[in-house]
Symmetry: none
Subunit: 124 residues, 4 copies
Amino acid sequence: MIIVLQDGSDIPVFKQIRNQIVMGISDGRLVPGEKLPTVRALAQEIGINSMTVNKAYQLLKQEGYIVTDRRNGVRVKESIDQTRGLTAEAEQELARLISEAKVKGMTRDDFVGVVDRYFERGGK
Amino acid sequence: MIIVLQDGSDIPVFKQIRNQIVMGISDGRLVPGEKLPTVRALAQEIGINSMTVNKAYQLLKQEGYIVTDRRNGVRVKESIDQTRGLTAEAEQELARLISEAKVKGMTRDDFVGVVDRYFERGGK
Amino acid sequence: MIIVLQDGSDIPVFKQIRNQIVMGISDGRLVPGEKLPTVRALAQEIGINSMTVNKAYQLLKQEGYIVTDRRNGVRVKESIDQTRGLTAEAEQELARLISEAKVKGMTRDDFVGVVDRYFERGGK
Amino acid sequence: MIIVLQDGSDIPVFKQIRNQIVMGISDGRLVPGEKLPTVRALAQEIGINSMTVNKAYQLLKQEGYIVTDRRNGVRVKESIDQTRGLTAEAEQELARLISEAKVKGMTRDDFVGVVDRYFERGGK
DNA sequence: GTGGTCTAGACCACA
DNA sequence: GTGGTCTAGACCACG
């Protein structure tokens, strides 16, 4: 799996990495148990400092998406918690996106159309 | 309309103001043509630096949500562009939220349920 | 409030800082809303790098003990979640401590005696 | 007695082994004089490097929980020191756990309730 | 060789 | 001036 960083983005690099890995898991490009690149390898591959990669991995670990282990390196967690709900933070973001959609005249069906487009993407 | 700042939020204050005004327009608490408080008045009301309010207004103006006028002060724009589409940035954020929902086991219908909950809120 | 680092400890510095601040809140030496030293100030005071202090503050923020804000600096959170329960991790540690106590012949009352000694310490 | 390693734990493997053996002695699953598996046997059983098992055994020996003997292999010590006290390190950890409990609103009785739950477990 | 920690510097957006 | 991010290097315990 390839990580692509946006250059002038206001999203910090470590969060871009985190986001892309979560999306990779979501759409099946990364499968449970799969080994991720080592901190150093990924850092070199995308040309950044290894502490930044480490920060991304720490975040993913804390969120329960991966496990890190000196023996096995870094792996996608076998069983990710199926809470079937958004975090409060994510829901708030969604509410904002919906507000912005409405203000530009999008109907509920317009919006759900976009949702469906992304929902059908990738694994399952 | 009342602006409420979250204390320890990681969202910058100027963006919180901007977001709340957009949401106010979206749900009808602010109507086209309605006069907004002056920079100084709003700054004092919520107890922050007026530079910060100014920044929020500049952003809203640039995004086409409000118009400023030396005579009339700041008003909600009469005709906000009805592009009926999300910005590329917003769509990318939505894609990320959907990924996170999927990875936690939410189905398309679960997600659309949340969308509907927010869509029915407020004006229109 | 003074932070004292143990030199040869196997507990990382950032965690020592985190622990001492939590204990400070617990025994009333730090009160809700109280301002903590800035990242740089604390770093200089205890003679370590500011990134290490930052790491400690990030952890405390994530755990809900403090709020950080560009306007106000760092403050003890006003309302810390009163879950009235230990984390799974903490409970596991306690279980281990109890095992070690039992194996050395401590009775339940011996152990509760030690608990009481610490429980009565500091603000309620 | 079966040793189970936690996959993504931040506790080093050798310490996990040490802890589980101490807990085994504490709750009676291992009795004084009982023979433990050889380093090599245990290493193979749980699928790790024998250096790691060796490290755990060395630690247990140094702490006075087991004795090693060229003829008899490794055995649980017949008479473990009944100091009836916690090590300074353990007491410090307990103090920290109590702080964290208090800060989350646990009362002394709440905490002692958890202690009792674990104290009644297993032998004695 | 791995992840984890720490340092000494630097730059940035925010307020 | 504040927190937040990032770099380039280093050291450590673990396995």
